[in-house]
């Protein structure tokens, strides 16, 4: 009984200690990608200063004003991140001091895309709001409806092209 109480007490003391301390770095895997990315959308401030590594595909976005953004994303269901019709994606706007690989088949329901392994940090915890036209069920753009999506900026330190991407999921959930 005494031992059990001591164990519980030790656990109660250790958990908060384990949670604080040095900055944590994150390597997103196929198992953790969606959970960590979702958490990052909700609580970006707790990832500031952390080194992040992830696999994603490049994705080009153009807002209603004609501004173009190159993003690193994966597709997901509409619950998290942005809600933009058939092209719901979760990821970052990429900021890099070098040229990043151009997207390919970005809207196709296929894994044949430009996959990259990125290393870097969040530029800030502030999200950029991008106004885009929504999509109709047939995939065409609906010029009468505008949606606002929010993305975090990601400072790319290194970007490696992934050639063997067959085991990577372009659509993620859970």
């Amino acid at each position: 009984m005494k031992r059990l109480l001591c164990l519980l007490l030790a656990l109660a003391l250790c958990l908060p200690l384990a949670a604080c301390g040095k900055t944590k770095n994150y390597v997103l895997t196929e198992d953790t990608f969606f959970l960590v990315m979702t958490n990052m959308q909700y609580y970006p401030e707790q990832y500031e200063g952390s080194e992040l590594e992830l696999d994603c595909f490049t994705y080009s976005l153009e807002d209603i004003h004609g501004n173009k953004y190159l993003c690193g994303v994966r597709k997901c269901s509409a619950e998290f991140g942005c809600v933009c019709g058939n092209d719901t994606v979760i990821g970052f706007i990429l900021d890099a001091p070098f040229e990043l690989p151009a997207p390919r088949n970005q809207s196709e329901a296929s894994v044949e895309k430009t996959w990259v392994h990125l290393k870097g940090q969040l530029s800030s915890a502030e999200k950029e709001e991008i106004e885009i036209h929504s999509y109709l069920p047939d995939g065409s753009i609906n010029p009468d409806k505008i949606e606002t999506i929010k993305f975090l900026h990601f400072n790319v330190e290194t970007c490696d092209l992934i050639e063997d991407y067959q085991n990577l999921a372009f659509y993620v959930n859970k």
């Binding site: 009984m1 958990l15 908060p16 949670a19 979702t38 958490n39």
Partner: protein
């Protein structure tokens, strides 16, 4: 002759005490099932149309969130508390608090009941009864806190007017099992005090 009578009375009393031990044995078994039932979602979003349980937090997750104060972290220990917390912070903190209290009481109740059964100490049924009652109350409060999340925006985000989608809590299952524990320990306690008289 008088000595023999006293010895007989003592033997009869011992036999009755021995019989009482069946209560903590069954009680410990039910307590163990209750602890296992705490792996069920105390808070979950179910979407029967799409993929069943979308996100969830079980009793053990609530314990770790309550102990660590981490309501925005990811990881198996914490379940999906971070997502619920984004939409319903107060309800999640309340769930973490009551969930933590309930889980600690349940674990201690199990330990005490087990000690009563193994150490052959029927007197321990009395604190076990108190712990089970308190644990039951904390479980009910954890359930209430979990269901308060249904009032937040999370339903709109996840369910998008889909009637097959809802916020649910299975904290009722361990709570119902605990009623069995409470009844069992109450009977044991009454019998124990009758023996003492």
């Amino acid at each position: 002759m008088a000595e023999t009578k006293a010895a007989k009375r003592e033997r009869a009393l011992r036999a009755k005490k021995q019989k009482l031990l069946i209560f903590p044995k069954i009680g410990a078994a039910i307590n163990a099932v209750v602890l296992a039932a705490c792996f069920l979602p105390f808070l979950g979003i179910y979407n029967t149309d799409i993929q069943g349980i979308e996100i969830q937090v079980n009793g053990w997750n609530a314990l770790f969130c309550g102990l660590s104060g981490q309501y925005t972290a990811t990881g198996a220990l914490y379940g999906n508390m971070d997502i619920f917390n984004y939409y319903a912070t107060d309800a999640c903190h309340s769930l973490g608090l009551w969930g933590m209290i309930a889980m600690i009481l349940l674990v201690v109740a199990f330990a005490v009941t087990l000690a009563a059964a193994i150490g052959k100490q029927p007197v321990l049924c009395v604190p076990a009864l108190a712990l089970n009652v308190l644990g039951f109350v904390a479980l009910v409060l954890a359930y209430r806190s979990g269901m308060a999340v249904a009032q937040s925006d999370i339903i709109e985000i996840y369910c998008q007017s889909n009637p097959a989608c809802s916020v649910e809590s299975y904290a009722t299952i361990p709570a119902v099992l605990m009623i069995g524990c409470i009844v069992l320990h109450a009977i044991a306690t009454v019998k124990f005090f009758k023996l003492k008289k």
